[in-house]
Amino acid sequence: MTSQEPGLDQTQVVAELQELVDPHRVLHSAAARAPFESDGLTAFRAQPFAVVLIETAAEIVNLVRWCHATGVPFLARGSGTSLSGGSTPIPNGIVLALNRMNRILAMQPKNLLCRVEPGVINLDVSRAAQPHGLYYAPDPSSQAICTIGGNVAFNSGGAHCLKYGMTSNHVLGLTYVTPTGEIEHIGHDSLEGLGPDVPGFFVGSEGRFGVALELTLRLLPLVPTYKTVLAAYHSTAAAGEAVAQVVASGMLPGAMEIMDRLSIQAAEVSVKANYPAGAEAILIVELEGDSAQVSAEFVELTQLLEASGAYEIRAARNEAERASIWKGRKSAFSAVGRLSPDYIVQDGVVPRSRLGEALQTIEDLSRRYDIRVANVFHAGDGNLHPLILFDGREEGALHRAEELAGEILQMCIDMGGSITGEHGVGMEKGAYLPLQYQGHDLQFMYDVSYALDPHGVANRDKKLRHDSWPLAPTAPDADGLPPEYTHAQRRRIEDLCIHIRQAHRVRVIGGGTKSTGISQNPAEILSVGEFSGILEYNPAEFTITTWAGTPVAEIQAALAEQGQYLPFCPPTQAGSTMGGIVSCGLSGEGRLRFGGMRDFILGVRCIDGTGDLLYGGGRVVKNTAGFDLPKLMVGSLGSLALILELTFKVFPQPSAHGTLICHLQDLDTACHQMHAARTGPCELDSLCLVPAEEGYDLYLRLAGSVDLLPDRLAQVAQVLTGKCRTVLDDAELWHGWNQMSRMERHRWRVPIVFNHIRKLETFLQDTQWQRRYGMGGNLLCLDGPDPRAMNEFLLRFDLGALGLQGSRSPLVTGVYAVPILLRRVKRVMDPKDKFVSPLPYVLPVVT
């Protein structure tokens, strides 16, 4: 990849910028530019030619186009709080300062979403949502100042990722300008999408895919009750062991955080959080949910922590005490500034069960280098934040600190983890990305980046460094396949690669329950059905890695044996495989509570259209190192690659479920009640509205401890006006909706939002089509209409749909266009369009 040399000097750049935007907002004096030289990681500094204080989306677009035309690189900057140097300016480039783009454009409480500009502060979203009983879940420690645009660029995490996932789980869609200047919208307002999860791929791209102009964020109902528990330990290992026990108990706390002695000390001086004195480590566990459930879990948690050797256990008695606990934790990074003039924050991830080992290694390294290391970490995610303390004024100190940091990153990779869980690669870890991804996997990232940004103007050198290009050739025998692959499997994989290289067109099938591709097209059929079985499953890690050809039922059974499950409850039929449900992007009714398939997929190994093996993501629950290839596989309908291996995050299965069926007379009441239930006293596991005889039935499902279910269901019933009945043994009921076998007619899945229901139902009630408004009003499932009638219906309401019918090829119909971003990725992954697919790609001519 070559980048155009700018060829413009500072005077020219400033003069041209002043033509494009209000000259007062083009900062070019040395003093005005200087404060933009660094972000939250001051080890890196660079001088931009100019800083433009952006006020409108149109200005962003104009400037990006200008950069593309002139080759002057740009950095889009929010509040400049990146801890990986991700918002360090590009030397001789320009900075687009977006912090004034801080308007909340729309709040749609009924649809549980809002639209914001990229410069909106994370916490301001929750503040604006609060009067509606809603909040924005991702909570990075810098949430009082970091911007949504920055969160999206780096797929920021925070303390509550364990239960709620990262930023990407909460970004439904966005409008952005590509590095070449096109404007496009990707994603949907609905929780469910159509086609590959392109927004999921965009999130975490560190500014390389363009600049977001407007973002659609998912909002959640405010948590009714928190219980924040602080436990003090005499050793970090004991605190780590307690985390393992909490996980094993089947509880799913909102957050589990550990701080060691040094970081406690810093936080204590800083915010006087009043942490227990003399602790070697403290563990913060936050339970959340409705009060009955939380109280029950609190009893269990306290017993467990007592048994784990905690010498002091405290629970926050009120919101002020809770805030104080969190303030200490969230100030820890900056507070460490009191212990040392400089530090590097690391962000590696290790499998949770190896936390103790990882901490020991860090301690050994600290001793060997004679450099102090403080530890704060998201223990529930295995996401470490070693703070390496040094004094930059000492000769060679930074270098030694970086060396130590490098060793920690290598350790994370050796343990099967990631170099970054939530801070991103930025400038800081650019040299380490090739440790985690090599050969074709890394080349894929460079190729995608080049396809989107041929002039290399968008946040150049972040994530992917120019100086590590071209890549060192990978040794021929290192295919990067994991040791658990058998010899026969390796040979078969080689075969598949050769087939794909030689074939003109290919279609991939798994269990053959939902064939992909358009049947009219002649294509060679490649089956992954023989790649079946579990490759790695460690319940303590909440992860499972399987062959793509593994029947979903087999996975579900294996998980159930360990008291775990796939929380998005994929709809299946006999023989459905993991690869098949990923390809179709099928989430079931469980999606409402914790997220859909896109939120649980972690890693994928596939063979792309060039016949090369390609790996993306990882096997740990948090990883923002590369581009998020696994997300693109969700809903790709076989169009991008042949999927071989998949890694999923899994959750402890609730010990019991119960359902409330509420009968309502008319549509208006039904919609009203449905909304009331979503923001009601209990966190719903599933919620759907089904037309019934004389009105509508609302199905509300709760999960949790069996003793508490009847009371909690009664509590929910209280906020409803209709006649309710309770079904405690409800497995069959929901299972029925998740079955797709023996479909004689098409079953259509239409992503919608809550506000659509009334107008859609007004139309549909006169038809004979069977329907269900599932996932809390995010998915309309329709049985009946033939493709022509369906298309007509969809166009009328400006919607798109996925149609499934038995083993026939799925159909994408209605309103759907393949985004530019996806088309460009397709050109990288499958340049000769070998994978036959029902997605309407319009490929640019390849010369």
């Binding site: 709080t81 900056s334 530090y343």
Partner: protein, 420 residues
């Protein structure tokens, strides 16, 4: 943050300045609480941006004159100090740096320079101020003809000139241990605050005396970077404080916080020890009173919804938030209401509203709107500057919410307890 400042040469406060820079980790936690960053949305006008700029200047890579406009633009509200997890003593960097700027001829525009010069040469001198205001009021019909640069200053002239009040002296035989600073601006513009203070102290049974009415603590100069003049003023105060004095009470947040910074102002001078001593004796009146036994039966009838505005020089510079609230809450019939943006400055900030009227106006308006949104009967604060700034902006928005000093409310409550 790493720096390469040569500690061997520079002002006496350089080690403290370098320490503040070194402690800053550039995390940005100060941005959401910084009023100028909120209003202007520019990194240069944020605490972390200014620290970066001051560092560059102290290292010698940026001329002081180029960084001064941004440093000048700071209100000095110290909200960043409260928010800072890394413990950066921003004030220890700001005031000495401003002094440095004054020495090296900073680059204010003409209007700012004139207003600043007039303000610093009249405000802290009660006689001059009284004369200036009298002349200003008498020539009001000519104000329309004044150059635009002077308008922000003229707007501050009150409609009604308060009656001068001669400060009472202690009647007791032995010299009182408690001295009260009347405040230069306050004695002219709001003598009622001192009157109320005197009555409240009497009611609390405190034997006290006022310091000479002409005494100015020098805080206004100090915070504006005019260190030499600040020292001259402060020396006057040192002389006025008798040897028997144990506690010096301030009922103006700006004065109290300035006096508590004397140590740095007089560092490496002959008066360093005396400065230390006076700084240690200084206390805000709310802190002092909260440690005394309150008279019984304090009440307001009819009951009032009262909003409390935290003066920056109390809450941020001195960390005083609980004491004034405790004083107010002991009054029966007073419902204390918290403002939603309590952390933000009202824009008064010493002579800031004279030097930077635009930013100050935006902040003043924001604070007035905040008070109006709370539907309160009375707004209370502990600083003369805030009182005038918020009152001005409330009136501009046609609100008649009164603005009073904490002592005035206590005084009213005392009065009502005595005359039910």
């Amino acid at each position: 943050m790493k720096h390469t400042i040569d500690l061997a040469q520079g002002p006496p406060a350089l080690p403290e300045m370098a320490e503040a820079i070194s402690n800053c980790v550039h995390c940005g936690f100060c941005l959401p609480v910084c009023p100028t960053y909120q209003v202007q949305g520019e990194e240069m006008d944020s605490p972390r941006g200014r620290i970066f700029l001051m560092k560059e200047s102290l290292e010698g890579s940026l001329p002081v004159a180029e960084t001064m406009p941004y440093v000048d633009n700071c209100l000095g509200c110290m909200a960043c100090v409260t928010a800072c997890p890394s413990g950066v003593e921003y004030g220890q960097l700001l005031s000495p740096f401003r002094a440095l700027g004054e020495e090296t001829n900073s680059c204010r525009n003409l209007g700012q320079s004139i207003r600043r010069a007039i303000a610093l040469r009249t405000l802290p001198f009660p006689r001059r101020l009284r004369t200036a205001l009298t002349v200003g009021r008498a020539t009001r019909f000519l104000h329309g003809l004044a150059p635009p640069a002077l308008k922000p200053l003229l707007r501050l002239i009150p409609d009604r000139m308060p009656q001068a009040w001669s400060l009472p002296q202690s009647q007791s035989v032995s010299p009182p241990k408690v001295a009260v600073l009347a405040g230069c601006v306050q004695s002219v513009l709001a003598p009622e605050v001192n009157q109320a203070t005197a009555r409240v102290l009497h009611a609390y049974g405190v034997d006290f005396t006022f310091l000479d009415a002409q005494v100015c603590c020098g805080a206004l100069h100090m915070h504006a970077g005019e260190a030499p003049q600040a020292r001259v003023q402060a020396q006057g105060l040192f002389d006025a404080v008798s040897a028997e004095t144990e506690v010096i009470l301030s009922n103006a947040a700006g004065c109290g916080s300035g006096m508590r910074e004397y140590a740095l102002l007089f560092k490496q001078t002959k008066l360093a020890e005396r400065a230390d001593q006076v700084a240690g004796q200084t206390q805000d009146i709310s802190v002092f009173l909260s440690q005394q036994t309150a008279p019984r039966g304090l009440k307001l009838d009819p009951p009032l919804r009262v909003g409390y505005h935290d003066a920056c020089h109390l809450q941020h510079a001195q960390g005083i938030t609980a004491e004034p609230r405790a004083l107010l809450q002991q009054i029966e019939g007073l419902e204390l209401v918290e403002l939603t943006e309590a952390v933000f400055c009202c824009g008064s900030a010493g002579i800031y509203n004279i030097e930077h009227p635009d930013t100050a106006d935006q902040l003043g308006r924001r604070k007035a709107e905040e008070a109006m949104a709370q539907d309160i009967d009375l707004l209370v604060t502990g600083n003369i500057g805030c009182m005038f700034q918020i009152r001005t902006h409330l009136r501009r928005l046609h609100s008649d919410i009164p603005v009073q000093h904490t002592m005035q409310v206590l005084d009213t409550a005392l009065d009502q307890s005595r005359n039910p």
